[in-house]
Amino acid sequence: MTTQEKLAMLEEIMELESGSLNAGTKLEDLEEWNSMAALALIALMDEEFNKILTGKQIKEFKTVQDILDFME
């Protein structure tokens, strides 16, 4: 899966315009990054990447790159 495809998935769960995210985007700058988006991310990791993501791990994410790294 390409980085572009992963970014598109993240844009979809946060309902952001396509192309609005890049790896360096800080999560705290995103109004759309809230508790619902975090739960959607847990679901995405489970269904698309077969990974278990916990609430604790989510708190450690600072940038979009941190999320992309977790998807590896």
Partner: protein, 252 residues
């Protein structure tokens, strides 16, 4: 002296007995004299529960209840090896939170498999001739969430509401067999499931939400175990087709 909660010699099947409410219930009813059969997936944890039970005749049947088609064989096995059931408590359950945008049919189905389909199937099989004794009591652990909805809980709340609805129907249908069917509608109880909820929803939000509504504070597993013991006992012989609310005031 009388003990209205006396369960001496009653054979009770408890699912989810490896953790939380199911584990506490199994231990508690063994102290009231019940012979308990423990079901869940984790055999090691079931053995740990077993080691904490009082009295004799208890046993462990490791089983994945999402294999709903195999439940009939499980019940037949248990009854032939341990005797007919005086009661059954379905504590196995999952409570995965997911926003509506990610709540696809496969996810709904997965939640229903354990929380709802397995519940109905356990009762369907246990209510067959020779599998139960007269006066048997079947119980599901439902949630205040079956009545009060929340964001990201469409699947969970629906599975518990389905459990409550089915309980009312099965109670009517099984009354002629002298079987009672009820749920316990639990509020927030301190277990692994609750810890997961806090991890996902954030401690502050949860605390203000819970302390604001559940004004008796945090529930303990023994609070639910007490309600279950009551519904299992003959003291509740006139109670069927209902949900006993044990929620520290949450729904009031």
């Amino acid at each position: 002296m009388i003990n209205p909660l006396d369960l001496t010699g009653k054979h009770i099947l408890v699912t989810g007995a490896s953790s939380g409410i199911g584990k506490a219930t199994a231990i508690y009813i063994s102290k009231l004299g019940a012979k308990v059969t423990l079901v869940a997936r984790n055999e090691k944890k079931l053995e740990d529960t077993l080691s904490k039970l009082e009295g004799e005749g208890h046993s462990v049947y490791p089983f994945d209840l999402k294999q709903v088609e195999e439940i009939e064989g499980l019940i037949n096995n248990i009854v032939s090896q341990k005797g007919a059931l005086n009661g059954l408590v379905h504590c196995s359950g999952i409570a995965t939170m997911r926003p509506l945008s990610m709540t696809r049919t496969a996810f709904l189905h997965d939640m229903m498999l354990l929380n709802f389909y397995a519940y109905v199937e356990l009762i369907r099989c246990s209510s067959k001739k020779n599998n139960f004794t007269e006066g048997a009591s079947f119980i599901g652990i439902s949630s205040a969430r079956s009545i009060s909805g929340d964001k990201s809980q469409t699947a969970y709340c629906s599975s518990k509401a389905a459990m409550d609805a089915a309980t009312r129907c099965m109670a009517k249908e099984l009354a002629t067999k002298k079987i009672r069917v009820n749920t316990v509608i639990a509020g927030f109880i301190k277990t692994a499931m609750y810890d997961m909820f806090v991890g996902n929803a954030g401690e502050e939000a949860v605390n203000s939400y819970i302390l604001g509504r559940q004004y008796l504070g945090m529930g303990e597993t023994v609070d639910v175990a007490n309600a279950v013991a009551y519904l299992l006992s003959d003291a509740a012989k006139f109670i069927t087709g209902t949900g006993l609310i044990v929620d520290g005031g949450f729904l009031s």
